[in-house]
């Protein structure tokens, strides 16, 4: 079994551990979601639909923001874990973010995050609880796995980063050098390097998360 992965992020207190587990083939999403919605204190986790996560940086950036706001008592949502899910969104609509990025009843790829906000929460207690609660196959939390799980088209739509395929080239004016307006790297169909497109998407998403609706 893949062990729980624990992170410490730069600029957060050194004792704030971040435990992450990634699952595929999850069978009991509806039950998990129920427990979460009922506010069962044993189930205070960030339960994230993995197909809308682009990369480890994408989700850790949300963790950073939520943890920072938690430390300075500025949470907008119920707790730091719901705040992580909220921080993934590009606006201030909490309910919408939770619906969009949070676990749904049809979720099969699930990202679970737990912050050690008190000493009683350790990697051991977390992995024990998860092993009995999540019915699924744990896999490594890394960029390769997330890339396989990611639904890029859905991500683009969520963040309104529609590429050329989405907007179509109708209505796009051409500049003198032949390129189209609105030709950010992520729009350019001419860009063959999907790695670069992915990087640009990530940059755009981090920016939107940072601005959080102030556009």
């Amino acid at each position: 079994m893949t062990p729980l992965q624990t992170f410490h992020l730069a600029h957060l207190p050194p004792d704030l551990a971040i435990h992450v587990a990634l699952y595929t083939d999850v069978q009991n999403a509806p039950i998990l979601r129920d427990q979460l919605l009922q506010g069962n204190p044993d189930f205070e986790y960030a339960l994230i639909e993995a197909s809308v996560i682009l990369s480890t940086t994408h989700v850790l950036a949300a963790v950073f923001r939520a943890a920072n706001d938690h430390l300075y008592a500025r949470l907008k949502s119920r707790n730091v874990h719901s705040e992580i899910v909220f921080s993934l969104g590009a606006n201030n609509n909490i309910a919408q973010s939770l619906r969009t990025f949070g676990i749904t009843s049809t979720t099969t790829n699930l990202l679970v995050i737990k912050l050690s906000t008190d000493p009683g929460i350790t990697a051991l207690t977390v992995s024990e609880h998860l092993s009995t609660s999540i019915q699924g196959t744990q896999v490594d939390f890394n960029d390769a796995t997330l890339t396989n799980m990611a639904d890029i088209a859905k991500v683009r739509k969520l963040y309104k980063l529609g590429g050329v395929e989405e907007d179509g080239s109708k209505g796009k004016r051409r500049r003198k050098d032949g390129t189209e307006e609105g030709s950010g790297l992520i729009d350019g169909a001419s860009i063959k390097d999907s790695e670069r497109v992915r990087k640009e998407l990530e940059v755009a998403i981090l920016g939107l998360m940072a601005l959080k609706g102030v556009v």
């Binding site: 730069a10 940086t57 950036a61 300075y72 755009a204 981090l206 920016g207 998360m209 601005l211």
Partner: protein, 276 residues
């Protein structure tokens, strides 16, 4: 801008007190301090721009201004990047700050050197070197670089952003992966390799004074500031600057009108006679 460093006014704001090593101070302006640190993990370097609160201002006004400026700069950067203008990405920010401290923004770290540094060093090396081969390599590299500058500024103006402080210190030359930076070798080779630096990407930085405007006047003033920067700091490259304007003029519809406006701005002169 080179000036004697002032005593560090403010300690780092939270959460940047929680780290070893502490962020490295790069520059200190009137409005903001710039640090180098990392985002999330040590393998992800970033720039941290901190706008401390100003005690002389009424606290409500201070918070309002700090918040507005952080968000405005971030918004401008995000817009530029989204539209294909080469600028640092915004990674995270906190416009409110915590209590009395100001706000901050973390941005993508741009590797490389400023165009200002490269031009100054280039001029120095050419003066020291008598090798003929050097001249052509450098000239060609310069021409291409100027073209890139013209293109990136043109794109920025096209999407309705004016930089507000367009000088060669606010442009980075980011090396292409294969280019080496140290350029240490013998005979003419070292300058040729240094010349390869010119092949890097141009990245515009420091949008602290930037605004969103489609006015020809604002765009012309942007160009004028850059022109004056070239004139005063890089007189040997002044001719190359014409290439910037030429490529700029071809880069978008309406660019030529801005160039015309630039002529007027030149004649008026900026009210200040001191720039760069």
């Amino acid at each position: 801008m080179n000036h004697p460093p002032d005593p560090p006014q403010d300690p780092l704001p939270p959460p940047f007190t929680h780290n070893q090593p502490t962020p490295t101070l790069l520059t200190q302006g009137a409005e903001a301090l710039l640090y180098r640190t990392h985002f999330l993990t040590p393998s992800h370097p970033c720039a941290l721009k901190y706008r401390p609160s100003k005690p002389y201002r009424h606290p409500i006004l201070d918070k309002r201004l700090t918040r507005h400026r952080i968000l405005s700069e971030a918004r401008t950067l995000v817009k530029c990047r989204r539209e294909g203008v080469s600028v640092p990405g915004v990674l995270a920010l906190d416009a409110e700050g915590d209590g009395a401290s100001g706000g901050w923004m973390m941005m993508e770290w741009i590797e490389g050197r400023t165009v200002r540094e490269v031009l100054i060093e280039g001029a120095k090396r050419r003066k020291d070197d008598r090798d003929e081969g050097v001249g052509e390599e450098w000239e060609e590299g310069m021409r291409l670089m100027m073209g890139k500058i013209g293109r990136v500024v043109g794109r920025m103006h096209e999407v309705g952003v004016c930089h507000g402080d367009l000088t060669t210190s606010n442009m980075m030359l980011r090396p292409l992966d294969k280019v080496q930076q140290n350029g240490e070798a013998t005979n003419g080779e070292h300058v040729r390799r240094f010349g390869e630096i010119l092949q890097g990407d141009i990245v515009l930085i420091d949008f602290g004074l930037a605004g969103q405007s489609l006015q020809d006047e604002d765009k012309a003033v942007d160009l004028y500031v850059l022109e004056r920067a070239f004139g005063s700091t890089h007189p040997e490259a002044e001719e190359g600057f014409q290439e910037v304007l030429r490529i700029y003029g071809d880069s978008y519809k309406g660019a030529k009108v801005v160039l015309k406006r630039l002529e007027e701005v030149r004649m008026r002169g900026r009210k200040r006679s001191m720039l760069g």
